[in-house]
Protein backbone atom coordinates (compact mmCIF):
# COMPACT_ATOMS: atom_id res chain seq x y z
CA UNK A 1 0.00 0.00 0.00
CA UNK A 2 1.09 3.54 -0.62
CA UNK A 3 0.88 6.95 1.07
CA UNK A 4 1.39 10.20 -0.77
CA UNK A 5 2.28 13.37 1.12
CA UNK A 6 1.61 16.56 -0.83
CA UNK A 7 3.98 19.50 -0.31
CA UNK A 8 4.06 23.13 -1.40
CA UNK A 9 7.83 23.48 -1.72
CA UNK A 10 10.90 21.54 -2.81
CA UNK A 11 12.57 22.03 0.58
CA UNK A 12 9.63 20.56 2.50
CA UNK A 13 9.41 17.60 0.15
CA UNK A 14 13.16 16.96 0.42
CA UNK A 15 12.90 17.20 4.23
CA UNK A 16 10.08 14.65 4.16
CA UNK A 17 12.35 12.18 2.34
CA UNK A 18 15.06 12.75 4.97
CA UNK A 19 12.58 12.12 7.80
CA UNK A 20 11.26 8.95 6.16
CA UNK A 21 14.82 7.64 5.80
CA UNK A 22 15.50 8.55 9.47
CA UNK A 23 12.33 6.67 10.39
CA UNK A 24 13.86 3.57 8.86
CA UNK A 25 12.36 3.52 5.38
CA UNK A 26 14.52 2.15 2.58
CA UNK A 27 15.09 4.75 -0.20
CA UNK A 28 13.82 2.20 -2.71
CA UNK A 29 10.34 2.43 -1.13
CA UNK A 30 10.22 6.23 -1.46
CA UNK A 31 9.59 8.13 -4.68
CA UNK A 32 8.67 11.64 -5.73
CA UNK A 33 5.57 12.46 -7.79
CA UNK A 34 5.99 15.72 -9.71
CA UNK A 35 4.63 17.42 -12.81
CA UNK A 36 8.12 18.41 -14.00
CA UNK A 37 11.30 16.32 -13.93
CA UNK A 38 13.73 17.29 -11.15
CA UNK A 39 17.43 16.45 -11.39
CA UNK A 40 18.38 13.14 -9.73
CA UNK A 41 18.96 13.45 -6.00
CA UNK A 42 16.76 16.52 -5.43
CA UNK A 43 14.26 14.17 -3.79
CA UNK A 44 15.34 10.58 -4.35
CA UNK A 45 17.92 8.60 -6.30
CA UNK A 46 16.41 6.08 -8.69
CA UNK A 47 18.72 3.11 -8.86
CA UNK A 48 16.73 0.70 -11.01
CA UNK A 49 18.73 -0.56 -13.98
CA UNK A 50 17.35 0.33 -17.38
CA UNK A 51 17.20 -2.14 -20.21
CA UNK A 52 15.49 0.32 -22.58
CA UNK A 53 18.44 0.60 -24.98
CA UNK A 54 18.55 -3.19 -25.29
CA UNK A 55 14.88 -3.23 -26.34
CA UNK A 56 15.69 -0.54 -28.91
CA UNK A 57 18.66 -2.55 -30.18
CA UNK A 58 16.55 -5.71 -30.28
CA UNK A 59 13.86 -3.91 -32.24
CA UNK A 60 16.46 -2.60 -34.68
CA UNK A 61 17.91 -6.09 -35.27
CA UNK A 62 14.47 -7.61 -35.72
CA UNK A 63 13.49 -4.84 -38.14
CA UNK A 64 16.68 -5.14 -40.18
CA UNK A 65 16.11 -8.89 -40.47
CA UNK A 66 12.46 -8.47 -41.42
CA UNK A 67 13.26 -5.80 -44.02
CA UNK A 68 16.00 -7.94 -45.55
CA UNK A 69 13.75 -10.99 -45.56
CA UNK A 70 10.94 -9.05 -47.25
CA UNK A 71 13.02 -7.48 -50.01
CA UNK A 72 15.59 -10.23 -50.63
CA UNK A 73 13.21 -13.07 -49.78
CA UNK A 74 10.64 -11.85 -52.30
CA UNK A 75 13.30 -11.68 -55.00
CA UNK A 76 14.47 -15.22 -54.20
CA UNK A 77 10.94 -16.61 -54.11
CA UNK A 78 9.82 -14.89 -57.31
CA UNK A 79 13.04 -14.43 -59.31
CA UNK A 80 12.92 -12.06 -62.26
CA UNK A 81 16.04 -12.41 -64.41
CA UNK A 82 16.74 -9.09 -66.11
CA UNK A 83 19.88 -9.04 -68.28
CA UNK A 84 22.91 -9.71 -66.15
CA UNK A 85 21.48 -8.03 -63.07
CA UNK A 86 21.58 -9.96 -59.80
CA UNK A 87 18.31 -11.46 -58.54
CA UNK A 88 18.69 -9.66 -55.21
CA UNK A 89 19.38 -5.96 -55.74
CA UNK A 90 21.65 -4.94 -52.88
CA UNK A 91 20.99 -1.19 -52.83
CA UNK A 92 17.15 -1.41 -52.73
CA UNK A 93 17.36 -4.29 -50.24
CA UNK A 94 19.59 -2.12 -48.06
CA UNK A 95 17.08 0.73 -48.18
CA UNK A 96 14.12 -1.47 -47.25
CA UNK A 97 16.14 -3.16 -44.46
CA UNK A 98 17.22 0.26 -43.14
CA UNK A 99 13.68 1.67 -43.06
CA UNK A 100 12.34 -1.45 -41.33
CA UNK A 101 15.24 -1.35 -38.88
CA UNK A 102 14.50 2.27 -37.91
CA UNK A 103 10.75 1.66 -37.71
CA UNK A 104 11.17 -1.32 -35.38
CA UNK A 105 13.79 0.52 -33.29
CA UNK A 106 11.33 3.41 -32.81
CA UNK A 107 8.50 1.03 -31.94
CA UNK A 108 10.82 -0.95 -29.65
CA UNK A 109 11.81 2.22 -27.78
CA UNK A 110 8.18 3.16 -27.16
CA UNK A 111 7.18 -0.36 -26.11
CA UNK A 112 10.24 -0.63 -23.87
CA UNK A 113 9.48 2.75 -22.32
CA UNK A 114 5.91 1.78 -21.44
CA UNK A 115 7.03 -1.58 -20.05
CA UNK A 116 9.71 0.05 -17.91
CA UNK A 117 7.32 2.73 -16.67
CA UNK A 118 4.62 0.18 -15.94
CA UNK A 119 2.11 1.99 -18.14
CA UNK A 120 -0.74 1.76 -18.84
CA UNK A 121 -1.56 1.74 -15.13
CA UNK A 122 -4.91 0.12 -14.37
CA UNK A 123 -4.48 -0.10 -10.59
CA UNK A 124 -5.61 2.77 -8.38
CA UNK A 125 -2.51 4.67 -7.16
CA UNK A 126 -2.11 7.44 -4.61
CA UNK A 127 -2.29 10.74 -6.49
CA UNK A 128 -3.35 14.36 -6.08
CA UNK A 129 -4.48 16.35 -9.14
CA UNK A 130 -2.94 19.51 -7.66
CA UNK A 131 0.48 18.00 -8.43
CA UNK A 132 -0.18 19.15 -12.00
CA UNK A 133 -0.27 22.69 -10.63
CA UNK A 134 3.18 22.51 -9.09
CA UNK A 135 2.65 20.74 -5.76
CA UNK A 136 5.15 18.00 -5.00
CA UNK A 137 4.23 14.52 -3.87
CA UNK A 138 6.38 12.15 -1.83
CA UNK A 139 5.07 8.61 -2.03
CA UNK A 140 6.09 5.83 0.31
CA UNK A 141 5.16 2.16 0.36
CA UNK A 142 4.25 0.68 3.73
CA UNK A 143 3.58 -2.86 4.91
CA UNK A 144 1.48 -2.53 8.07
CA UNK A 145 -0.43 -0.04 10.26
CA UNK A 146 2.63 0.78 12.42
CA UNK A 147 4.65 1.73 9.34
CA UNK A 148 1.71 3.72 8.05
CA UNK A 149 1.50 5.68 11.30
CA UNK A 150 5.27 6.40 11.25
CA UNK A 151 5.13 7.53 7.63
CA UNK A 152 2.16 9.82 8.23
CA UNK A 153 3.97 11.41 11.15
CA UNK A 154 7.14 11.92 9.13
CA UNK A 155 5.23 13.46 6.22
CA UNK A 156 3.12 15.78 8.38
CA UNK A 157 6.10 16.89 10.47
CA UNK A 158 7.91 17.90 7.24
CA UNK A 159 4.96 20.13 6.30
CA UNK A 160 2.66 17.96 4.18
CA UNK A 161 -0.50 19.83 3.19
CA UNK A 162 -2.43 16.56 3.03
CA UNK A 163 -1.88 12.83 2.65
CA UNK A 164 -3.50 10.62 0.03
CA UNK A 165 -3.62 6.83 -0.14
CA UNK A 166 -4.16 4.31 -2.91
CA UNK A 167 -7.14 2.84 -1.04
CA UNK A 168 -10.55 3.27 -2.62
CA UNK A 169 -12.66 5.90 -0.82
CA UNK A 170 -15.11 4.41 1.70
Amino acid sequence: MELLGVFASVEQAAAAVDRLVQAGYDQATITSVTSVPYPPGVFVHTQRRSWLHWVTAGGALLGAGAGFALAAGTAWLYPVQTGDKPIVALFPTGIIAYEFMMLCALLGTMIGMFLEMGLPEFKRRAYDPEIANGLIGIAVTFADETQRHDAEQALYSAGALRIRTDEAPA
Binding site: S50, A71, E99, L106, Y127
Partner: protein, 456 residues
Amino acid sequence: MSMPADQHYDAATANAAMLSSTRPATWRWYLLALLLGAVVACGLYAFSYQVMTGMVVTGKNRPVMWGFYITNFVFWVGLSHSGTMVSAILRLSQANWRRPILRGAEAMTVFSIMIGGLFPLIHLGRNWTFYYMIPYPSQYGLWPNFRSPLLWDMMAITTYIIGSSLFLYLGLLPDLAVARDRAGGWRRLFLSVLAMGWRGTAQQWQTFGRASTLMACLIIPVAVSVHSIVAWDFAVTLVPGWHSTIFPPYFVIGAITSGVAAVITLMIIIRKAFHLEAFLQPLHFDNLAKLLLVVTMLWSYFYFAEVFTTWYGHQPIEWEVFRFMSDKYRLLLLIMLFGNTVVPISCLLWRRVRRSIPALLVITLLINVAMFIERFLIIVPSLSHKNMPFMWGSYTPSLVESTVMAAAFSGFALLYMLFAKFFPIVAITDVREETEALRGTAVRGRARLTTLVDEE
Protein backbone atom coordinates in the same frame (compact mmCIF):
# COMPACT_ATOMS: atom_id res chain seq x y z
CA MET B 1 17.34 25.75 -6.59
CA SER B 2 14.99 27.03 -3.91
CA MET B 3 11.38 27.32 -4.88
CA PRO B 4 9.15 30.07 -3.55
CA ALA B 5 6.29 29.01 -1.27
CA ASP B 6 3.72 30.31 -3.74
CA GLN B 7 5.18 28.22 -6.58
CA HIS B 8 1.91 26.28 -6.64
CA TYR B 9 0.07 29.35 -7.85
CA ASP B 10 2.74 30.30 -10.40
CA ALA B 11 2.67 26.82 -11.91
CA ALA B 12 -1.13 26.87 -12.04
CA THR B 13 -1.07 30.23 -13.86
CA ALA B 14 1.58 28.95 -16.27
CA ASN B 15 -0.50 25.81 -16.95
CA ALA B 16 -3.60 27.91 -17.62
CA ALA B 17 -1.69 30.21 -20.00
CA MET B 18 -0.12 27.32 -21.91
CA LEU B 19 -3.44 25.51 -22.17
CA SER B 20 -5.17 28.63 -23.52
CA SER B 21 -5.64 27.01 -26.93
CA THR B 22 -7.87 24.32 -25.38
CA ARG B 23 -10.42 26.79 -24.03
CA PRO B 24 -13.96 26.54 -25.49
CA ALA B 25 -14.03 27.61 -29.12
CA THR B 26 -15.23 31.08 -30.08
CA TRP B 27 -17.45 31.89 -33.07
CA ARG B 28 -14.31 33.00 -34.97
CA TRP B 29 -12.78 29.57 -34.50
CA TYR B 30 -15.93 27.90 -35.86
CA LEU B 31 -16.07 30.30 -38.78
CA LEU B 32 -12.46 29.63 -39.73
CA ALA B 33 -12.96 25.87 -39.31
CA LEU B 34 -16.04 26.10 -41.55
CA LEU B 35 -14.17 28.02 -44.24
CA LEU B 36 -11.23 25.62 -44.20
CA GLY B 37 -13.63 22.67 -44.19
CA ALA B 38 -15.38 24.14 -47.24
CA VAL B 39 -12.09 24.34 -49.16
CA VAL B 40 -11.27 20.75 -48.16
CA ALA B 41 -14.73 19.71 -49.42
CA CYS B 42 -14.02 21.46 -52.75
CA GLY B 43 -10.75 19.53 -52.98
CA LEU B 44 -12.52 16.24 -52.28
CA TYR B 45 -15.06 17.07 -55.00
CA ALA B 46 -12.23 17.90 -57.45
CA PHE B 47 -10.51 14.62 -56.60
CA SER B 48 -13.75 12.62 -57.04
CA TYR B 49 -14.26 14.35 -60.39
CA GLN B 50 -10.73 13.29 -61.38
CA VAL B 51 -11.40 9.68 -60.31
CA MET B 52 -14.67 9.58 -62.31
CA THR B 53 -13.37 11.37 -65.40
CA GLY B 54 -9.76 10.25 -65.56
CA MET B 55 -6.36 11.94 -65.44
CA VAL B 56 -7.31 13.95 -68.53
CA VAL B 57 -8.70 16.60 -66.17
CA THR B 58 -5.18 17.33 -64.92
CA GLY B 59 -2.60 19.33 -66.85
CA LYS B 60 -0.34 16.29 -67.12
CA ASN B 61 0.59 15.20 -70.61
CA ARG B 62 3.35 13.52 -72.56
CA PRO B 63 6.17 14.12 -71.70
CA VAL B 64 5.31 15.97 -68.46
CA MET B 65 3.83 13.12 -66.42
CA TRP B 66 4.66 14.68 -63.05
CA GLY B 67 3.05 18.03 -62.29
CA PHE B 68 1.50 19.81 -59.37
CA TYR B 69 0.79 16.63 -57.39
CA ILE B 70 4.43 15.55 -57.24
CA THR B 71 5.50 19.18 -56.67
CA ASN B 72 3.15 19.19 -53.66
CA PHE B 73 4.44 15.83 -52.52
CA VAL B 74 8.06 17.03 -52.46
CA PHE B 75 7.03 20.35 -50.88
CA TRP B 76 5.00 18.80 -48.04
CA VAL B 77 7.57 16.11 -47.31
CA GLY B 78 10.16 18.89 -47.16
CA LEU B 79 7.98 20.93 -44.84
CA SER B 80 7.64 17.98 -42.53
CA HIS B 81 11.37 17.78 -42.14
CA SER B 82 12.19 20.43 -39.67
CA GLY B 83 9.57 19.91 -37.03
CA THR B 84 10.72 16.63 -35.62
CA MET B 85 14.30 16.93 -36.80
CA VAL B 86 14.95 20.39 -35.38
CA SER B 87 13.17 19.40 -32.19
CA ALA B 88 15.37 16.30 -31.92
CA ILE B 89 18.59 18.20 -32.66
CA LEU B 90 17.76 20.93 -30.14
CA ARG B 91 16.82 18.31 -27.55
CA LEU B 92 20.11 16.47 -28.01
CA SER B 93 22.13 19.69 -27.98
CA GLN B 94 20.26 20.76 -24.80
CA ALA B 95 19.38 24.16 -26.25
CA ASN B 96 17.09 25.56 -23.57
CA TRP B 97 15.32 27.98 -25.92
CA ARG B 98 13.83 24.96 -27.71
CA ARG B 99 11.19 24.36 -25.05
CA PRO B 100 8.26 26.56 -26.16
CA ILE B 101 8.61 25.62 -29.84
CA LEU B 102 8.88 21.82 -29.55
CA ARG B 103 5.22 20.87 -29.64
CA GLY B 104 4.16 23.19 -32.46
CA ALA B 105 7.09 22.00 -34.58
CA GLU B 106 6.46 18.31 -33.92
CA ALA B 107 2.75 18.63 -34.71
CA MET B 108 3.65 20.43 -37.95
CA THR B 109 5.77 17.45 -38.99
CA VAL B 110 3.01 14.93 -38.39
CA PHE B 111 0.34 16.85 -40.29
CA SER B 112 2.52 17.90 -43.20
CA ILE B 113 3.86 14.36 -43.76
CA MET B 114 0.27 13.07 -43.63
CA ILE B 115 -0.74 15.60 -46.31
CA GLY B 116 2.43 14.92 -48.33
CA GLY B 117 1.84 11.17 -48.23
CA LEU B 118 -1.57 11.62 -49.86
CA PHE B 119 -0.20 13.18 -53.04
CA PRO B 120 1.43 10.11 -54.61
CA LEU B 121 -1.91 8.34 -54.04
CA ILE B 122 -3.83 11.20 -55.69
CA HIS B 123 -1.29 11.16 -58.51
CA LEU B 124 -1.65 7.42 -59.14
CA GLY B 125 -4.39 7.54 -61.73
CA ARG B 126 -6.14 4.31 -60.77
CA ASN B 127 -6.22 5.36 -57.13
CA TRP B 128 -8.28 2.38 -56.05
CA THR B 129 -5.34 0.04 -56.70
CA PHE B 130 -3.07 1.86 -54.25
CA TYR B 131 -2.80 -1.24 -52.06
CA TYR B 132 -0.79 -2.96 -54.80
CA MET B 133 2.17 -1.11 -53.26
CA ILE B 134 1.76 -3.00 -50.00
CA PRO B 135 3.76 -6.22 -50.02
CA TYR B 136 1.30 -8.99 -49.28
CA PRO B 137 0.85 -12.41 -50.90
CA SER B 138 -2.09 -11.96 -53.26
CA GLN B 139 -3.75 -14.56 -55.45
CA TYR B 140 -2.27 -12.81 -58.52
CA GLY B 141 1.25 -13.54 -57.30
CA LEU B 142 1.73 -9.79 -57.58
CA TRP B 143 4.65 -8.36 -55.62
CA PRO B 144 5.84 -4.79 -55.53
CA ASN B 145 9.03 -3.99 -57.35
CA PHE B 146 11.58 -3.29 -54.63
CA ARG B 147 13.89 -1.76 -57.23
CA SER B 148 11.45 1.14 -57.71
CA PRO B 149 12.25 4.36 -55.79
CA LEU B 150 8.49 4.90 -55.43
CA LEU B 151 8.34 1.83 -53.20
CA TRP B 152 11.28 3.16 -51.18
CA ASP B 153 9.20 6.33 -50.78
CA MET B 154 6.29 4.38 -49.41
CA MET B 155 8.48 2.58 -46.89
CA ALA B 156 10.29 5.76 -45.83
CA ILE B 157 7.15 7.86 -45.51
CA THR B 158 5.33 5.15 -43.56
CA THR B 159 8.31 4.94 -41.19
CA TYR B 160 8.42 8.72 -40.84
CA ILE B 161 4.68 9.11 -40.23
CA ILE B 162 4.76 6.44 -37.51
CA GLY B 163 8.06 7.70 -36.06
CA SER B 164 7.10 11.36 -35.92
CA SER B 165 3.66 10.53 -34.48
CA LEU B 166 5.33 8.46 -31.74
CA PHE B 167 7.79 11.28 -31.11
CA LEU B 168 4.92 13.76 -30.80
CA TYR B 169 3.02 11.43 -28.46
CA LEU B 170 6.10 10.80 -26.34
CA GLY B 171 6.58 14.52 -25.70
CA LEU B 172 2.86 14.91 -25.06
CA LEU B 173 2.61 12.18 -22.42
CA PRO B 174 3.36 14.25 -19.25
CA ASP B 175 1.42 17.22 -20.68
CA LEU B 176 -1.60 14.99 -21.24
CA ALA B 177 -1.53 14.22 -17.51
CA VAL B 178 -1.40 17.95 -16.67
CA ALA B 179 -4.30 18.64 -19.05
CA ARG B 180 -6.19 15.61 -17.62
CA ASP B 181 -5.90 16.92 -14.08
CA ARG B 182 -7.36 20.27 -15.11
CA ALA B 183 -10.11 18.96 -17.38
CA GLY B 184 -13.65 17.80 -16.71
CA GLY B 185 -16.34 15.75 -18.44
CA TRP B 186 -15.64 13.77 -21.59
CA ARG B 187 -12.38 15.64 -22.13
CA ARG B 188 -11.02 14.29 -18.83
CA LEU B 189 -11.92 10.74 -19.84
CA PHE B 190 -10.33 11.21 -23.27
CA LEU B 191 -7.12 12.64 -21.78
CA SER B 192 -7.03 9.97 -19.06
CA VAL B 193 -7.03 7.23 -21.68
CA LEU B 194 -4.22 8.91 -23.62
CA ALA B 195 -2.19 9.68 -20.46
CA MET B 196 -2.35 5.95 -19.54
CA GLY B 197 -2.16 6.61 -15.81
CA TRP B 198 0.99 8.75 -15.88
CA ARG B 199 1.78 10.12 -12.38
CA GLY B 200 5.24 11.60 -12.79
CA THR B 201 7.19 9.40 -10.38
CA ALA B 202 10.98 9.77 -10.30
CA GLN B 203 11.27 6.41 -12.09
CA GLN B 204 8.82 7.45 -14.81
CA TRP B 205 10.68 10.72 -15.42
CA GLN B 206 14.00 8.91 -15.62
CA THR B 207 12.71 6.43 -18.18
CA PHE B 208 10.95 9.24 -20.04
CA GLY B 209 14.26 11.15 -20.31
CA ARG B 210 16.09 8.08 -21.61
CA ALA B 211 13.35 7.33 -24.14
CA SER B 212 13.28 10.96 -25.33
CA THR B 213 17.01 10.90 -25.99
CA LEU B 214 16.82 7.55 -27.78
CA MET B 215 13.86 8.65 -29.92
CA ALA B 216 15.65 11.91 -30.80
CA CYS B 217 18.73 9.92 -31.88
CA LEU B 218 16.60 7.60 -34.01
CA ILE B 219 14.33 10.14 -35.66
CA ILE B 220 17.16 12.26 -37.14
CA PRO B 221 18.53 9.53 -39.46
CA VAL B 222 14.93 8.63 -40.42
CA ALA B 223 14.23 12.24 -41.41
CA VAL B 224 17.44 12.41 -43.44
CA SER B 225 16.62 9.10 -45.16
CA VAL B 226 13.11 10.25 -46.11
CA HIS B 227 14.21 13.27 -48.07
CA SER B 228 17.24 11.48 -49.50
CA ILE B 229 14.88 8.84 -50.86
CA VAL B 230 12.58 11.54 -52.27
CA ALA B 231 15.70 13.00 -53.95
CA TRP B 232 16.56 9.56 -55.36
CA ASP B 233 13.13 9.49 -57.02
CA PHE B 234 14.75 12.04 -59.30
CA ALA B 235 18.48 11.35 -59.11
CA VAL B 236 18.38 7.65 -60.03
CA THR B 237 16.69 8.45 -63.33
CA LEU B 238 18.61 9.54 -66.43
CA VAL B 239 16.48 12.67 -66.90
CA PRO B 240 18.62 15.76 -67.64
CA GLY B 241 18.71 18.09 -64.65
CA TRP B 242 17.87 15.30 -62.22
CA HIS B 243 20.72 12.79 -62.56
CA SER B 244 22.99 14.41 -60.00
CA THR B 245 24.86 13.10 -56.99
CA ILE B 246 24.27 16.32 -55.06
CA PHE B 247 20.49 15.84 -55.05
CA PRO B 248 20.04 13.97 -51.71
CA PRO B 249 21.96 16.48 -49.51
CA TYR B 250 20.54 19.36 -51.56
CA PHE B 251 17.00 18.09 -50.96
CA VAL B 252 17.68 17.57 -47.26
CA ILE B 253 18.98 21.13 -46.86
CA GLY B 254 16.05 22.48 -48.90
CA ALA B 255 13.66 20.55 -46.68
CA ILE B 256 15.24 21.90 -43.50
CA THR B 257 15.08 25.44 -44.94
CA SER B 258 11.38 25.26 -45.75
CA GLY B 259 10.69 23.42 -42.49
CA VAL B 260 12.44 25.96 -40.26
CA ALA B 261 10.69 28.80 -42.13
CA ALA B 262 7.33 27.07 -41.62
CA VAL B 263 8.04 26.53 -37.91
CA ILE B 264 8.68 30.27 -37.53
CA THR B 265 5.49 31.15 -39.47
CA LEU B 266 3.41 28.79 -37.32
CA MET B 267 4.98 30.05 -34.08
CA ILE B 268 4.06 33.62 -35.06
CA ILE B 269 0.46 32.58 -35.75
CA ILE B 270 0.17 30.50 -32.56
CA ARG B 271 1.68 33.32 -30.48
CA LYS B 272 -0.87 35.78 -31.76
CA ALA B 273 -3.88 33.46 -31.78
CA PHE B 274 -3.42 32.01 -28.28
CA HIS B 275 -1.75 35.03 -26.60
CA LEU B 276 1.47 33.16 -25.90
CA GLU B 277 3.70 36.25 -25.94
CA ALA B 278 5.10 35.37 -22.48
CA PHE B 279 6.41 32.02 -23.73
CA LEU B 280 7.32 32.71 -27.36
CA GLN B 281 9.62 35.66 -26.90
CA PRO B 282 11.80 37.56 -29.41
CA LEU B 283 14.76 35.46 -28.19
CA HIS B 284 13.15 32.30 -29.57
CA PHE B 285 12.51 33.92 -32.95
CA ASP B 286 16.04 35.34 -32.99
CA ASN B 287 17.55 31.89 -32.44
CA LEU B 288 15.28 30.21 -34.98
CA ALA B 289 16.09 32.97 -37.49
CA LYS B 290 19.84 32.39 -36.97
CA LEU B 291 19.27 28.72 -37.75
CA LEU B 292 17.26 29.74 -40.82
CA LEU B 293 20.07 32.05 -41.94
CA VAL B 294 22.59 29.21 -41.77
CA VAL B 295 20.40 26.77 -43.72
CA THR B 296 19.52 29.33 -46.41
CA MET B 297 23.23 29.96 -46.87
CA LEU B 298 23.83 26.22 -47.17
CA TRP B 299 20.92 25.85 -49.61
CA SER B 300 22.31 28.71 -51.73
CA TYR B 301 25.75 27.09 -51.75
CA PHE B 302 24.29 23.74 -52.88
CA TYR B 303 22.10 25.39 -55.54
CA PHE B 304 24.93 27.42 -57.05
CA ALA B 305 27.34 24.47 -56.87
CA GLU B 306 24.82 22.48 -58.94
CA VAL B 307 24.15 25.28 -61.45
CA PHE B 308 27.85 26.15 -61.76
CA THR B 309 28.76 22.54 -62.58
CA THR B 310 26.00 22.39 -65.21
CA TRP B 311 27.09 25.70 -66.72
CA TYR B 312 30.80 24.74 -66.74
CA GLY B 313 30.19 21.32 -68.29
CA HIS B 314 27.73 22.83 -70.77
CA GLN B 315 26.38 19.48 -71.88
CA PRO B 316 23.85 20.36 -74.59
CA ILE B 317 20.80 18.66 -73.07
CA GLU B 318 21.56 19.77 -69.51
CA TRP B 319 22.04 23.33 -70.67
CA GLU B 320 18.90 23.15 -72.80
CA VAL B 321 16.85 22.34 -69.69
CA PHE B 322 18.36 25.28 -67.83
CA ARG B 323 17.88 27.59 -70.81
CA PHE B 324 14.25 26.52 -71.16
CA MET B 325 13.64 27.06 -67.43
CA SER B 326 15.25 30.50 -67.32
CA ASP B 327 13.39 31.50 -70.50
CA LYS B 328 9.84 30.17 -69.92
CA TYR B 329 9.81 30.42 -66.12
CA ARG B 330 12.01 33.52 -65.71
CA LEU B 331 9.71 35.25 -63.23
CA LEU B 332 9.36 32.11 -61.11
CA LEU B 333 13.13 31.59 -61.17
CA LEU B 334 13.71 35.17 -60.00
CA ILE B 335 11.14 34.85 -57.20
CA MET B 336 12.83 31.62 -56.14
CA LEU B 337 16.30 33.16 -56.06
CA PHE B 338 15.11 36.26 -54.23
CA GLY B 339 12.95 34.31 -51.80
CA ASN B 340 15.46 31.60 -50.98
CA THR B 341 18.73 33.46 -51.16
CA VAL B 342 18.80 37.24 -51.58
CA VAL B 343 16.06 38.26 -49.15
CA PRO B 344 16.73 35.85 -46.26
CA ILE B 345 20.51 36.19 -46.33
CA SER B 346 20.50 39.99 -46.62
CA CYS B 347 17.77 40.49 -44.00
CA LEU B 348 18.45 37.81 -41.39
CA LEU B 349 21.99 39.05 -40.86
CA TRP B 350 20.48 41.89 -38.84
CA ARG B 351 19.44 41.30 -35.23
CA ARG B 352 16.66 43.85 -35.53
CA VAL B 353 15.07 41.91 -38.39
CA ARG B 354 15.49 38.60 -36.60
CA ARG B 355 13.58 40.01 -33.60
CA SER B 356 10.88 41.71 -35.67
CA ILE B 357 7.81 39.46 -35.80
CA PRO B 358 6.16 41.12 -38.86
CA ALA B 359 9.43 41.04 -40.83
CA LEU B 360 9.99 37.37 -39.97
CA LEU B 361 6.44 36.51 -41.00
CA VAL B 362 6.99 38.06 -44.45
CA ILE B 363 10.44 36.47 -44.91
CA THR B 364 9.37 32.99 -43.84
CA LEU B 365 6.24 33.04 -46.00
CA LEU B 366 8.36 34.20 -48.95
CA ILE B 367 10.84 31.37 -48.34
CA ASN B 368 8.08 28.78 -48.53
CA VAL B 369 6.57 30.31 -51.67
CA ALA B 370 10.08 30.23 -53.17
CA MET B 371 10.56 26.65 -52.00
CA PHE B 372 7.33 25.56 -53.68
CA ILE B 373 8.51 27.22 -56.88
CA GLU B 374 11.88 25.49 -56.53
CA ARG B 375 10.15 22.09 -56.36
CA PHE B 376 8.09 23.01 -59.44
CA LEU B 377 11.20 24.16 -61.34
CA ILE B 378 13.02 20.92 -60.53
CA ILE B 379 10.18 18.78 -61.87
CA VAL B 380 8.55 20.49 -64.83
CA PRO B 381 11.40 21.92 -66.98
CA SER B 382 13.39 18.66 -66.81
CA LEU B 383 10.39 16.60 -67.92
CA SER B 384 9.44 19.15 -70.58
CA HIS B 385 12.83 18.94 -72.29
CA LYS B 386 14.14 15.40 -72.01
CA ASN B 387 16.60 13.76 -74.39
CA MET B 388 14.26 13.49 -77.39
CA PRO B 389 13.60 16.94 -78.92
CA PHE B 390 10.57 15.64 -80.88
CA MET B 391 8.92 14.95 -77.51
CA TRP B 392 9.50 18.31 -75.91
CA GLY B 393 6.44 19.81 -74.30
CA SER B 394 5.14 22.00 -71.54
CA TYR B 395 2.81 21.91 -68.56
CA THR B 396 0.15 24.14 -67.04
CA PRO B 397 -1.66 23.02 -63.90
CA SER B 398 -5.41 22.52 -64.28
CA LEU B 399 -8.17 23.86 -62.04
CA VAL B 400 -8.63 20.37 -60.56
CA GLU B 401 -4.97 20.19 -59.52
CA SER B 402 -5.04 23.72 -58.09
CA THR B 403 -8.21 22.94 -56.10
CA VAL B 404 -6.68 19.78 -54.65
CA MET B 405 -3.61 21.80 -53.71
CA ALA B 406 -5.73 24.49 -52.00
CA ALA B 407 -7.53 21.71 -50.13
CA ALA B 408 -4.18 20.34 -48.96
CA PHE B 409 -3.19 23.70 -47.45
CA SER B 410 -6.63 24.09 -45.85
CA GLY B 411 -6.59 20.51 -44.59
CA PHE B 412 -3.22 21.11 -42.95
CA ALA B 413 -4.49 24.28 -41.25
CA LEU B 414 -7.67 22.52 -40.13
CA LEU B 415 -5.78 19.57 -38.65
CA TYR B 416 -3.47 21.96 -36.82
CA MET B 417 -6.41 23.96 -35.45
CA LEU B 418 -8.13 20.81 -34.22
CA PHE B 419 -4.93 19.57 -32.60
CA ALA B 420 -4.46 22.89 -30.77
CA LYS B 421 -8.07 22.74 -29.57
CA PHE B 422 -7.72 19.30 -27.97
CA PHE B 423 -4.06 19.12 -26.93
CA PRO B 424 -1.51 21.48 -25.34
CA ILE B 425 0.19 23.32 -28.21
CA VAL B 426 3.06 24.40 -25.94
CA ALA B 427 5.20 21.75 -24.26
CA ILE B 428 4.04 22.57 -20.72
CA THR B 429 6.33 20.37 -18.67
CA ASP B 430 9.35 21.22 -20.83
CA VAL B 431 8.79 24.95 -20.32
CA ARG B 432 8.06 24.59 -16.61
CA GLU B 433 11.02 22.26 -16.09
CA GLU B 434 13.41 25.08 -16.90
CA THR B 435 11.83 27.62 -14.54
CA GLU B 436 10.88 25.26 -11.71
CA ALA B 437 13.46 22.48 -11.66
CA LEU B 438 16.58 23.67 -13.43
CA ARG B 439 16.80 27.41 -12.80
CA GLY B 440 18.02 28.78 -9.49
CA THR B 441 20.15 31.55 -8.03
CA ALA B 442 23.63 31.59 -6.57
CA VAL B 443 25.62 34.31 -4.86
CA ARG B 444 29.01 34.95 -6.47
CA GLY B 445 31.02 37.71 -4.85
CA ARG B 446 28.62 40.60 -4.53
CA ALA B 447 26.25 39.49 -7.22
CA ARG B 448 23.22 37.19 -7.15
CA LEU B 449 23.37 35.21 -10.38
CA THR B 450 20.86 33.03 -12.18
CA THR B 451 22.10 29.46 -12.52
CA LEU B 452 20.95 26.61 -14.70
CA VAL B 453 21.45 22.94 -13.90
CA ASP B 454 22.90 20.87 -16.75
CA GLU B 455 20.44 18.36 -18.16
CA GLU B 456 21.90 14.89 -18.11
